[in-house]
Symmetry: C2
Amino acid sequence: PKPQRFILKTKGSHPNLILTQEGVVKIKKHLGTIPIFDSSLEIVKKEVDNEIKNGIEVPVPKHYSGGYTHERHKKNYITMQKAGVLFQILNDDVYANYVKQMLFEYAKLYPTLPVHPKTRSYARGKLFWQCLNDSNWLVYTSQAYDCIYNFLSKNEREILEQELFKPFANFISIENPQFFNRVHNHSTWGSVAVGMMALVMDDDTLLNRALYGIKNLKIDPTLKDNDGGFINKHGKAGFFANLEDPFSPDGYYTEGPYYQRYASYPFLVFAQALQNKKPELEVFKFKDSVLIKSVNALLNLSNAKGEFFLLNDAQKGMSYHTSALVSAVDIAYHFGEQNPELLSIAKQQNRVSLNDAGLTVAMGIKAGKEQPFIKKSIELSDGSNGKQGAVGVLRSKDLELVFKYTAHGLSHGHFDKLSFALFDNGEEVVQDYGLARFVNIEQKGGGNYLKENTTFAKQTIAHNTVVQNKVSHFQGAYEIASKHHSNAYVFSADSDAIKVASAKEFNAYSNTKLHRTMALITLEEDTNPIVLDIFRVESSNKNQYDLPLYYLGQIMQTSFKYSKLDTPEVLGTNNGYQHLYKEAIATSNGENIKFNWLHSNRFYTYTALTSKNDNIIMARIGANDPDYNLRNDPCLIIRKKDTENALFLSVLESHGTYSPVSEIANNAYSNLKDIRVLCNNNDYTAVEFTLINNTQKLFIMSNSSSNLNRTHQLTIKSVKYQWEGAYTLINLNT
Amino acid sequence: PKPQRFILKTKGSHPNLILTQEGVVKIKKHLGTIPIFDSSLEIVKKEVDNEIKNGIEVPVPKHYSGGYTHERHKKNYITMQKAGVLFQILNDDVYANYVKQMLFEYAKLYPTLPVHPKTRSYARGKLFWQCLNDSNWLVYTSQAYDCIYNFLSKNEREILEQELFKPFANFISIENPQFFNRVHNHSTWGSVAVGMMALVMDDDTLLNRALYGIKNLKIDPTLKDNDGGFINKHGKAGFFANLEDPFSPDGYYTEGPYYQRYASYPFLVFAQALQNKKPELEVFKFKDSVLIKSVNALLNLSNAKGEFFLLNDAQKGMSYHTSALVSAVDIAYHFGEQNPELLSIAKQQNRVSLNDAGLTVAMGIKAGKEQPFIKKSIELSDGSNGKQGAVGVLRSKDLELVFKYTAHGLSHGHFDKLSFALFDNGEEVVQDYGLARFVNIEQKGGGNYLKENTTFAKQTIAHNTVVQNKVSHFQGAYEIASKHHSNAYVFSADSDAIKVASAKEFNAYSNTKLHRTMALITLEEDTNPIVLDIFRVESSNKNQYDLPLYYLGQIMQTSFKYSKLDTPEVLGTNNGYQHLYKEAIATSNGENIKFNWLHSNRFYTYTALTSKNDNIIMARIGANDPDYNLRNDPCLIIRKKDTENALFLSVLESHGTYSPVSEIANNAYSNLKDIRVLCNNNDYTAVEFTLINNTQKLFIMSNSSSNLNRTHQLTIKSVKYQWEGAYTLINLNT
Ligand SMILES: [Ca+2]
Ligand SMILES: [Ca+2]
Ligand SMILES: [Ca+2]
Ligand SMILES: [Mg+2]
Ligand SMILES: [Mg+2]
Ligand SMILES: [Mg+2]
Ligand SMILES: [Mg+2]
């Protein structure tokens, strides 16, 4: 909708934000008969009762995240929100009084507070070290206030609104425009915080500010935040701008799934509130229902355990079991098209939100409507117009391949064009390092980003993609990276036998073009598909190219002889190389190299084409890490020197298993005898696979036409091959 | 029983070894009505049917373990045993014919075989590279033969016995006395192999050889096997000697639980056969029912996940879910006193043996007789007389502390006197490295022991115990180590508030006495107990002492400043030190050091008393490891230099948790403000704990009297303390 000023028309009486009066009636009616709702309620009640027993603490703010006052205020807002809900559902004044007392403690404290004593943030809060966390507080507290609104006298409400809520909302918006008036997950929280409280207070000035930003504000477009992200390059602001801009039409959030998870709570909970109080805005239909699509996109960006893929800054282990996703799934079901697959996710989450949406989900589960959520091979476009690259996910049997050819991803982006990661039955096998941070663990730099996030985790060499001349993509410069994106080339995943994703990157290095094609190909029945990787590099200059493979596990065997150094040496001086130890080296004799390892009781082999005198470097993370901030994980690097064009061709196999209980190793060795390239030019790349059992297959990729209907002809070794589409897989034995 | 020659009195007709005729009748009667038996049968049937479909393969022996012919012959004997059982239970000739055909293939092949082509073993087999595996084959095959005995004609039996079974039994006994005539898990298998087949064939010559060894044989007592173990120092041999010698009266097997698990199958399955065919031997009553006790001991030597503690050579992940333990538990239940706790283990195993014992267990489970198997704090004596030290296991809440003060443990022993390991909720937190081997993974040295097992895994510095002057206990010499054992001093675990294990070692170093006391002490309600570690070293010489802590996880914070080296340096030249990298160093200022880390989403802190100028070394395994045979795990070493006596005093806490899903860190810091020693001499050691909340407790240990009834008096800082027993815990705040 276009920016407009409106008069709030209050729909119903309180609660009417997240819980509604109608919802409360319905919940009370079904109480005790819907198992997953009842057990969710029981858990929340226990938690809140315990907090009530411990007594109210509203300390003077002092610490970073992980520290006492930070965690206490966080616990407070979470508990207030829950206590408000319990008051509505259980009709017990104990809960209302708890919220009321705590709010009055805050109303007493807040006006006395200067800005938070910790200085690290570009936008310091009052209760917390950054406005972001103050916004979290207001998003939750507004719900608590809504729930006890009618329990309070008019006079009490007056005090809270004047002393606490309005100054609070103004502080995180007008007094911190560099935080509030931008497009970023921070300002999403800011807008939603102000907007939620505006809806409860029926304050249209605040609501308009929340929806459309602070008007007539000029922010220096070159300003940056703590993460090195631009504050506001384009002058966009407010909730709708934050919804319009970072989501692609497919619902992919440009910062990646870890931050989408974080932002999804304010996005969806505010949408829920707007739908309840301002249905005429039709927020769930905005941008072709992008909010509902975004939940589906996010669920598809998780591995078999439900853990989100590591794209950009992302902490390992975050999954759709997190509370933000419980809300998200419930809201997407209730306000979306009641997709029965979402119910199976809710069932895995094993709890629902204690509101209208959660009740709908709980009743859907009780009625047995759920269907399995089947994660598919999927390409999710990036960019608000969907034209700034994409993430491609290929899935087959236990394998999940994540291939990244997106835009930079705002301030949380990594210099990782055309990088990939591989999961096998939910276990990371070829990893993306993720972030260098221990979120909310105070011992580690206050729980905030560590310097190694910039010096290592974001750098190209920390990723499974090509590094030219030991310099990161876009020279590691956010300003340059933000101007560009990779280009999706082919995504084709309809066949069980072969699924292909291919993408090109022309801007990471000037004068050099990168083109990577990844495929899951079933070469033999009853075996896992192989992961084919064709990484073509074309340059007008002679360069050195490194391609790391961040395998996880223990080396079992290599086909090549390597020399372990007596003591490790540091691999370089900057761009992330300063954090890698060189442990062993080898020089290729020009044949395929095979690298066989064991991880989590499965055997893997990496088979790579090499050229004579390519270097093979066995490295490990951990150099120049004075505080043990990094994990000491290994990687294998293939280095090609002094060459204009290069072809990195390789196959990854998950071929065997080991049981420490039966001590039996099954299929411990690769099934591949040989891979070779029969043709590689601007038009085609043709790869021949020879299996141990001597069956042979040929894969041909068109490098210049992605058209899936075009007919191609190619003659290799006097044999003419003809096919339709951008690629083909040919059985050479028939 | 004393050695005697007897005449076999066949009890019943075949099968009468493991399955009995009466058992088969009973099984058939209940078939389809006992869920766990039926599902176990279903799994076995599927497996065997699949093998029958694949066809019989009896290749000429060629490979080490992990290799094709090794794994094929292994699969063959396992499948024959199962097919024999299926024939009896299902009455389907397909199974009998399968066994028969395969046996005749072996009868054709065996007489043509020279000794196995792989030369690594001190006792090469014919089907396998070592007689050990040939013995495995015979133990299983004898059962298969028993099951189809009556299906074969007399003439067919004659051929198999003359061409295959008797030569086979003679080869692994008379032709390999260095393998057969000893006390060792190898010869247990050998004796049982010969004995089982003897029982089926009613061959009393072989049976007597199996039970009492080859008579009038002289073996050079200085001969050693591949592991460096003596072949036969004392001239003992045969099944009963193997049962008498390595088991303590508590059922602890001197080689440790990993090898006990391996040996338990032949021990128990042969006992079962003897009980069926020679009940007059009363084998289950032998040595005060040591076989039944041994199963209970073994189950108690597993962590919360059922994985065996790592004592001596042991591969991680081996657990009571292994098939040998399914047999063991079933046999212990059926032939023992039908302990209902065993049923809960069987239920976790989720399968039973397809014989009389398994049926009894299955029926017990069906009848709901099971009770939880509660693992207790327990001290298990070592040595056939129970007087060669012990293993102490202290358990409280999620913590399991394993403290080792045993004899050496034969050829699989490590030089690890007074070492310990700590598990928390089944996760290793302070590890024993285990063995340096990848069992049956051919890529890694044929699946056999790697040289790093000797050069690192067995060495003292690879363990959480004191190393003097960088030399392993007993100079790393098996001959010396085998003559000695540690001494149990105090084991007291009846109180929930405090559990203590204490032991002394006087022989690991000449002129130096080691005394370690470990305790689980609950200092505060609602928190985990702390692990107190008092390691006293007394010497008449000045020495250097190193105490490593093999923590697992990521360093969060240290109270001391350390300097990371630019590149790691190798820590030493021999005795295992050559495999450690020094990564960082610190020098103590004489105060407590605190070392805080995160592992598997729990926070731990190690608080240690230090003296000024003690060195603190942060090290990592992996140096001089040319084939990546070692895991690159970290350790922290406290080094005291140039001192006669030393006190290593420390506390381990499991105090907090982290959730990557909620991103909340709970109790991330130690609860201890200070530990100090108020007294430390030959009579007493007194340790004062001060908690963050300023409560103080005092622990006093008597170093010279372990009597639990004696009254002690001690004055510290003018306060007189009086107590009864070897130790006391005093609350200083009351
Ligand atoms: Ca940030
Ligand atoms: Ca490839
Ligand atoms: Ca051995
Ligand atoms: Mg990354
Ligand atoms: Mg960035
Ligand atoms: Mg050990
Ligand atoms: Mg030994």
